[in-house]
Symmetry: D2
Subunit: 313 residues, 4 copies
C-alpha cells in the first residue's frame, strides 16, 4: 500500500528519524534522457529552510540514484534511490514521546499499528514528500519528450504571504491553496468509470499531507450553475472541431480533451504551533507544496500516458 | 481498469444500449448475511423516473445475482450479477450518431478508442451507476455487522429544489451538492502516504459522473484558517482521550480517528439540455446521486476495514 | 483474487450449480476484429459429452456476450459474458451433501470459508474452465493479428488412449500430459525478475484444475545436463544472429528470444472414480484440457505483448 | 513489474554493477519480532565464494535496513534495504561489451529495451537473488510465530556433488534439483481458481534464475497414475478426519489441507562455461539456490496467510 501508480509506479519507504528515506520507480520506459539538473532543481524547491516561512531544519536532500540509469539513459529497469536523514536532533522530540500532538497522526498510528516511531512524525512526516519529488522528476523527464508542461503556484500569493506573516507573529500557522495547470496533454488520457483522469489527479493530491479539498474545472462553483452556462460548445475552425470554452477543465467523461487541465488544492494550516512547541517548524504547508503538487500531477499524467498506449490495438 | 477497490473489489461492464450491464464483486468474505431487501431498496432509490426531476425512462433495474450466495450467506466466492437493458428506444438517439454532444464523452471516447457505441452514452452513461449501487449494497451488508452507518443527502434541499424547477422551466438543467456522514467507523482505517482514507473516498467520489469537487472536514475553508482555529484538541474524559472538536473530519494522517467522517461532493449540471435535445433526461444529477455516493463510500470503508485486518500480526 | 492477468485481465465468477457462470475481460484494446466462430469452436472443443472419455453431461455452453463489442469490433470497454447452467440434476449430488469426496476440494473449501455450495464442485468444478476458454478466445483474436500461433495436444495420444480405456474398464480414471508450442512470438515478451514469461506461463498452467507439474525447454532433463550440452549458441546467417538450437525453450532471462516456446503440463487422474460414485464423470482430465491450455497460454502471451509496449519510450 | 506478492510484497531494484541493489518490503504487519541473526544467516548461506562450487567473488552482502523496524519490532511501515556492490572488477567483463554470451539474457535485454548495462548481467545477474533472501527472511519471521517450517535441500546431494566435480574438471557446469518441504502450514491457504497455492509456489520458483521445471505432490508421475492410486482417502482418527496418504502434496483444489506441502524445482546448468570465459563463476546454480527456494516459498506462504485472514467475516 506504499505504491503509487499503475504502469509508472513509485514505491516509497522511510521514517523521518531512521537512517534514510527512499523509493523505487518501476515502469520507467527504457531510453528516456535522464536530466539530473531537473531532479536536483525540484528537490531544492521542496527543501525547507530557505525562507522565513519554512523551518531552518537543514535537510540536505542529497538523493543517491542506485540503479536503472546507464550512460544518462533509463534502462527500463527499476530506479532505486535513497536520501539519508542527516540532521536528526532527537532531543527536540523528547517532549512528545508519551504524548499525542493535537491534529497529528501520532494517535491514529499508535491505534492502527500498536507501535510507532515516537522520535518524530515517522512515516507521517513531511519529509516523506522528498521521495514524491524524486518520482515526479523522473515522470517529468517522460513528459518533457511529449511537450506536456505542468505548472503549479500558490493562489493569491501576495495576500497569502501577508496572512502567514501575521499568523507567524502570533505564534500561529496558516493554510493556503495551490493551483495547477497542465498544458499540452494529448487527447485520450484517462480510463472511464473508476479511473477517470480527474479521479486519479484528485487521489494524488488528497494523498499529500494536509490536503483537505480538490476541485477541477469549475469545481464547487459548478454545483450552482445551469447546464447552459457550464457546457463547452464545439466550434469549427479550419475544418477541425474546437471547444470555445473550458469550463470542464480539460477532461470529459474522465478523458482528457486536449484543452488545459486545471485544478485547485486546499491545504489546512500546519498543526504544530510555534507558540505550543519549540523546534523547527514551517508556518504554512503550501510554501513547500508547489513542487509536490507538480510531482504528483506529473506521475499521474506519465502513468496515464503509458496506460493509454494500450487503448487501441 | 474497470475494477474498484483492493480487497473488496467491484469490476463492472456494460454499455447503456447493449443487452445488459453487470459486474463481479470479488473479496466479499464468507459468512455475511445477504440482505436482498437492502439491495432492492438501494436500486429503487437510484432508479430514474420517480419524480419530475428524473427522466421517465423506465429502467427496471432488475438485478440478477448469479453466484457467490448460498442459503442467504456469502460463500466467499465472487458474486456475479447482471441487469438487463430492457427499454432501449434506439430512435431517440439517431440524431447523435454523427455528432458530438457538447460536454459529453462522445468526442473523447471516439478519440481514445477510435470507435464508440454511438447509440447512447455507452459506457459513459449514468446507467453504469446501477452496478455501483449493487456493489455498495453488498459492502453495506459487511458494514451493518460492524455498526457503521453511512448517510448521504442533498445539501440545502429546499433551495436546490427551487433552482432545479426554475431551470427546468427554461429547458435548462442545474448542478448540486451531496454531503455525506460516516458514523461508527472504527479507529485505524486508512493506509498512510498514498492510500489515505480520504484520498480513497475522494477518488471514489470523483469517479462518479458529473462530480467536479470533493472536500472533507473543513475542506476549502481550511485554506484560510489558522492552526489554532483548525486544530482538534484532546481532552480527557473518564480517563480516556477524546477529541473536543472535529475540524479534521474524522481522519488524521490519512487514518480514521473514531470521530464522524464527513465530506461534500459537487456535481455539475447535466450537459444534455431539454431545450436542445428531445428525449428523456434528468434535470439535475444529484437527484439520483445520493445512493451512489453512499454506495461508493460503503465500498471504500468495507475495503479499508478488510485491509486494516493485516495492520498488525 | 479471481482475476487473471495484468493488462489483458479476465475476472470470473460462478458455481457449477448456480444459475450461471461468467466473467469480464478487461483490457481488450479497441479495434480488434471479433471472431465469433473462433469463440464457439473453442467452447465446443472443451465441451464434455463428445466421446467416451468425457461424461455425457450436456453442457450447452451457450455463451452470451453482453458488452464491449460493437459492429464486430472490440470497443476497448470491458467484455461481459455469461454461460447459463442449464442441466442441473441436483439429485446426483445428494450423496455428498454431508461427505467430503476424497482428493476433492470439498474439505478445504469448508475449512477455508466455513460454508460451501455442497450441491456440486461449486467454484472448484471443471465447469469454471469454460470461462477461461472464452477469455482465451478473445486473446487469440489479438494474437491472430500478430501471427502468433499457439497449439496444444495430448502427448503420446495413442498410448494414453489405451491407458484411459483400460482404466475405464476397471471403473478407474487416468492422468495425462498436454504439451504446447507457441510459434511466431515476437522477441522481448516477459518481464525480468519476478514476472518472467515462463513463470507467467507456469502459473497459468498450474492454475488449471488437476495440474501437478510444469516444465519448459528441457525441463527436468536440464537438471542432469552440462552447460556445454544445454547452451544454445548463436550462429550468423545472412549477417543476422540466429540460435542454432533451442534447448532453452524460446525464453532467455525470462524474455522471449524469437524461437518457438514449448512446454509440458502434467495432469493427475480425475479423483471421482466411476466405481465409487455414480453419475456423469470424465475418465481423464486431459481430454478437455487441450483448449484450456491453449486459452491460458493465449491470455498470457496477449497480456505480455501489451505489457511490452511500454518497455521503451 | 518488479514486485512480488499481494499483501506481503517485495519490490526490488539493482544492476549487478551499479552502486547497490536493494528493495522494499511492504505489507509486513506491525509487531513482528525482528530476528537479525536469521537475516544474516540466510544471506550467508546464499553468499558465493564459500566452497569450490561457488565462485570466489567476494560479495559481502552487508544489508542495511533503512526503515520499518523500531526497537526490534516491525512498525507496519515499509522496510527499505540496500546492499552495496563492493567488488566490481569492470575489466573482467570487457570481452562481452559487444558480444552476446550464449544462453544469457544479454540478447533479449538488448532487444527488449534497446539498451543494457553491458558491464555484467545487470538486472539478470544472480546477484539479484540477495534481495529475495532479505524478503524471505522477513517472511520467515512471520512464519516463525505461526510454527510453519520451510526446509529446502539439494536432491541426491552425494551424486550431484560428483557430477559437478566431474564437470568442473572439464571446464564445464552442471544443473541440479532442489526439493522443498513445508510443514505446519494451516488449512485454508490458497485462493481457488487463478491463485491456487501451488500456482503461486510454482510462479515463485519459476521466477528464480535458471529454473526450468516445477512439480508438487506426485508431479509428472501423476500423469501416468490411476485415480485409485493417486487419491488420498480420509480416515477417522479420534473422531477427527485425517488423510491416510499425501499424494496430493498438501494442497486440494488449490488450498492447503494441513498435510506437508512438498515440491521439486529443476535448475539448468550455468551458461557461463569456465573453459569459454575466464573470471569468477559458479559451477552449478543449485549450490546457492537452497536459501533462495526457501525465501521464495516463505514469501508465498506469508502472503497467502495474510490473504486468508479475509476469507471469512
Amino acid at each position: 500500500m506504499n505504491t503509487f501508480g499503475n504502469i509508472f509506479r513509485l514505491t516509497t519507504f522511510g521514517e523521518s528519524h531512521g537512517p534514510a528515506i527512499g523509493g523505487i520507480i518501476d515502469g520507467m520506459p527504457a531510453g528516456v534522457d535522464i536530466d539530473f539538473d531537473l531532479l536536483h532543481a525540484d528537490l531544492e524547491k521542496r527543501r525547507p529552510g530557505k525562507d522565513t516561512i519554512c523551518s531552518a531544519r537543514n535537510e540536505a536532500d542529497n538523493v543517491e540514484i542506485l540503479s536503472g540509469v546507464f550512460e544518462n539513459k533509463s534502462l527500463g529497469t527499476p530506479i532505486g534511490f535513497i536520501i539519508r536523514n542527516n540532521d536528526m536532533r532527537h532531543q527536540d522530540y523528547d517532549a512528545i514521546k508519551n504524548a499525542y500532538r493535537p491534529s497529528h497522526a501520532d494517535f491514529t498510528y499508535q491505534e492502527k499499528y500498536g507501535i510507532r516511531d515516537y522520535r518524530g512524525g515517522g512515516r507521517a512526516s513531511a519529509r516523506e514528500t522528498a521521495c514524491r519529488v524524486v518520482g515526479g522528476a523522473f515522470a517529468k523527464m517522460i513528459l518533457k519528450s511529449l511537450n506536456i508542461v505542468i505548472k503549479a503556484e500558490i493562489e493569491n500569493y501576495d495576500e497569502w504571504r501577508k496572512s502567514v506573516s501575521e499568523a507567524q507573529q502570533d505564534g500561529d500557522t496558516f493554510g493556503g491553496i495551490v493551483k495547477c495547470n497542465i498544458s499540452g496533454c494529448p487527447i485520450g488520457l484517462g480510463e472511464p468509470v473508476f479511473n477517470k483522469l480527474h479521479a486519479a489527479l484528485g487521489a494524488a493530491m488528497l494523498s499529500i499531507n494536509a490536503v483537505k479539498a480538490f476541485e477541477y474545472g469549475e469545481g464547487f462553483r459548478a454545483a450552482s450553475m445551469r447546464g447552459s452556462e457550464h457546457n463547452d460548445y464545439f466550434i469549427e475552425e479550419n475544418e477541425k472541431l474546437k471547444l470555445a470554452t473550458n469550463h470542464s477543465g480539460g477532461i470529459l467523461g474522465g478523458i482528457s480533451n486536449g484543452k488545459d487541465i486545471y485544478f485547485r488544492v486546499a491545504f489546512k494550516p500546519i498543526a504544530t504551533l510555534p507558540k505550543e512547541f519549540s523546534g523547527r517548524h514551517d508556518s504554512s504547508p503550501v510554501a513547500r507544496a508547489v513542487p509536490i503538487v507538480e510531482a504528483m500531477a506529473s506521475m499521474v499524467i506519465a502513468d496515464y500516458y503509458l496506460l493509454n498506449r494500450n487503448s487501441k490495438i
